[in-house]
Subunit: 147 residues, 2 copies
């Protein structure tokens, strides 16, 4: 259990999942099951299947049904950045404007939205730039180094 339970662990789980599949495939297996991945991640197989569904929609993973079914990578680990993963699973922005529209008759209430949006756009861009620097190949290298 981590210190802050509120923040998103989706990116962590997604990176874990894809890295696991990549390593498993390199060891000679064709497909990985959500059951196997869930055992490594320590969660429920359905959580993995749902997440992999989103990753498949983004063109990062693929699945096979029926007997001998399972999941595989759609691209090599080196061709997937954490930004790819982030964009596949993150729905909204990190920061939001007001829930309820602020008073438009007030100077600040009127102008604060655009002003903050400009800042938030820059912040998100910086965040994406940073995530784009790391591929899942890099992640796997770090993982194996720690072993």
């Amino acid at each position: 259990m981590e210190s802050d339970v509120s923040a998103n662990s989706r990116l962590t789980i997604a990176a874990h999942t894809l890295t696991w599949i990549g390593l498993y495939q390199r060891r000679g297996h064709e497909v990985a099951t959500s059951e196997q991945i869930a055992t490594s991640v320590n969660t429920n197989p359905v959580v993995i299947r749902r997440l992999l569904g989103e990753l498949r929609k983004a063109g990062l993973a693929d699945s096979r049904r029926g007997a001998g079914a399972g999941w595989m990578l759609a691209r090599d680990l080196a061709a997937i950045t954490l930004l790819d993963v982030y964009q596949a699973i993150e729905p909204g922005p990190v920061f939001a404007l007001h829930r309820a529209t602020p008073n438009p008759e007030c100077v600040v209430g009127h102008g604060i939205g655009p002003a903050m949006t400009a800042v938030y756009d820059d912040v998100e861009a910086a965040l994406r730039r940073e995530l784009a620097k790391t591929t899942l190949e890099d992640v796997l290298r770090d993982v194996l180094k720690a072993a």
Copy 2:
């Protein structure tokens, strides 16, 4: 109502609040009440008081009690960056590791935590760098320009 209601609007509200106080003080008033600010933000005064309580703890705002009570800035708008505000009100990191510890007997489960932590540290650093670039004076300038 904004498009994504889930993300944090706390930074937006906090910046709005401090900017409002700053402008109000420049117009000759000594203190601003949570009631006035809440009218501009379009929320409940208690929400503003709670937030200003955190900002005061961080040394950004100050309050006076009793009759003629209210809030004032502890520093000039130019001396407050959005990073200051962010650090005063944001509790946790943007990204989290797994809720439940992943399987330590699995290579990936064992090494993924440190690997992702390294990335997340860089991302948070980039985010902070970006927020530090903008002061509330900059925000007020943008706000007045939009009017």
